[in-house]
């Protein structure tokens, strides 16, 4: 607990942790949009989420090797992952949409292992990152230092969130997606091609993950086996925010980022991942306990 004393002695440092954490949370929220979308529309918990994020990161990384500025990687990764997501849907996911959750959760789990190992074979297991060279912002007499890319990430998250809401409200296919989420059967009766709606939803989710991954590789580091933690973060954010609540996802994402950053500092970085996964268990148990009092269950 030495670090706690440090925070008391130098209060400005907790400001550093807070800002850093909130901005990190924005990146988590971006992937969580996608998870909420797939969960709400298709009733699938997509364990592959984290691997899509890392794959998006690799796309940006290799783009930066070609000499392109990594910020261009955000749209390129999103596009590339949109195609990957569409392919995965056409190959596997469409077979499991209406099956029981046992099959859907195991199948996405299998795809996640498959992608993980494929990335390991193709890109290697090294820890890599793409530096966007955007510099660092110093605040409060240089006591607080924040990498500028994190502000860019926050802006991108907000813009993408707004675009997503607009897309779901205004566009034809967006309306079809919302109709399918309400009742797939009724939507089919109204002449909506639900198969195409599912494909779009899943590909859109992958694209969001791709954009996230591109921000991740610029902000932190990636390697093929780090994906699962992003799945778990998205899941936690969606569970806390509730389905169909995009603003809630942003708030929960920022909160998670801040909490995680403080915990990582207080417990030591070696326990940060342990903290994230333990937090998941704690959140679920706590929510279930609360629902249990009302005689309801999380299902």
């Amino acid at each position: 607990m030495d670090n706690l004393l440090l925070l008391v002695d130098a209060p400005v440092f907790s400001l550093q942790l807070l800002i850093d954490g909130l901005l990190a949370g924005a990146i988590f929220a971006l992937a969580a949009y996608g998870m909420a979308l797939v969960w709400g529309v298709m009733n699938i918990i997509n364990i592959t989420q984290g691997e899509f994020v890392i794959l998006g990161g690799f796309v940006t990384l290799y783009l930066s090797y070609l000499g392109v500025h990594p910020l261009w990687g955000v749209p390129v990764s999103a596009l590339a992952l949109f195609i990957v997501g569409w392919g995965v849907y056409r190959l596997v996911i469409f077979r499991i949409v209406d099956r029981d959750l046992f099959i859907s959760i195991l199948a996405t789990f299998g795809i996640s292992i498959l992608l993980q190992q494929l990335m390991n074979q193709i890109f290697g297991a090294d820890i890599q990152n793409a530096d966007p060279n955007l510099g660092t912002l110093f605040l409060f007499n240089d006591d607080v230092a924040i990498a500028n890319i994190k502000f860019v990430a926050l802006a991108i998250t907000i813009v993408v969130g707004a675009l997503l809401i607009l897309f779901l409200r205004k566009s034809r296919i967006g309306q079809a997606i919302r109709a399918t989420a309400q009742s797939a059967r009724a939507a089919r009766l109204m002449g909506i091609d639900t198969d195409r709606v599912y494909a779009t939803t899943y590909a859109l989710n992958a694209a969001l993950c791709g954009a996230t991954g591109s921000l991740v590789v610029m902000t932190w580091v990636i390697h093929p086996f780090i994906g699962l933690i992003y799945t778990v973060r998205s899941f936690m954010i969606v569970v806390v925010a509730g389905l169909g609540n995009l603003a809630g996802v942003v708030v929960a994402g920022l909160g998670l980022g801040a909490v995680e950053n403080f915990a990582g500092f207080l417990l030591g970085t070696e326990f940060q991942a342990a903290f994230v996964f333990s937090l998941l268990v704690i959140i679920l148990v706590w929510r279930n306990y609360r629902l249990g009092k009302k005689r309801q269950y999380l299902r």
């Binding site: 299998g110 030591g268 998941l280 268990v281 249990g292």
Partner: protein, 341 residues
Amino acid sequence: MNKALRTSLGMALALLILAAPLILPNYQTQLAVLWLMVLLALTWDIMGGQMGYNSFGNIVYFGVGMYTTAVIQRGLFFDIDEYAHVAGGTGSQLSLLDYLLGLGLGLTGGALLCVVLAVILGAGILGLRGHYFAICTLGLGIAAGEIASGWDYLGAGSGLVTPLFPETFFGRGIFFYYYFLTLASLTFVVLRYLYSERFGLAINAIRDDEDKAESMGLYTTRYKTIAWSVSAVFLALAGGAYGNLIGFIDPLDVAFAGPTFGVWMVLMAILGGKGTVWGPVIGATIFHITQELFWTYLLGWQRVALGLLIVVIVVFFPLGILGWIRERWPERFGERVEGKQ
């Protein structure tokens, strides 16, 4: 097939199983791991197959049992500060009796701790259903591994060495082969007994419709906790011995080995046919043998193949081998079919 032939075939198979480590002395460890695999698949199937609770976190008990056993062994006979240096050398040979005493106490301690853990965790987690339970256990398994790899008392990321196996007339491979053979057989017998009892009916009812089971007056939480504790006990006993068989406990690759054992146990159970007694046994045997082939010939691509295999089996072949046979020839499984006898 007449009865005499069947009996003699069974006898021959039993003899082969008993003599296997003597016939193939170079493969003793692999053969011991085969029985470990059978045990893993069987214990996963209690929750995953018979009760319909998709757990990715059973590896927790494997790891906790392994660490508890090693820590008790270490605490009984060694000075903790010196241990890491001594056990690497040859100066710290235990006598056979001491070793067995340490191992026995360690395994007992591990099993007890895991039951307590299962009851405590179960109280919080077993109320969750479906997706939530699956993701929660997934998080649990990884959290345990991450905690172990940061905890200095357990050797943190650099792992923990188990006491050396004493030099006697039989080797480590032989000892652990028969240990795992006994343990896997015991698991099989116990599970078959439990499934034939009220317990089996109760957990099947939970799988089919938990709300109905509860409204019929079953104490579902109690049955779920028992089911989890049973798998915890056997996993702890297996984990403790596996740590000693390997001789070195790495927190992420050996103890809380989510990407290997944690995934394999799920795959083996569904490959053989979840929800049957023999399914996990068959699945584990086939998987272990084919996996050895993959290791030899695919060089690095075996894990890719593993992921592919899971997807293909789950999507196209969810009943598993035994489930498929059962659907094809139900009369062989004691189900009455009209038109046949």
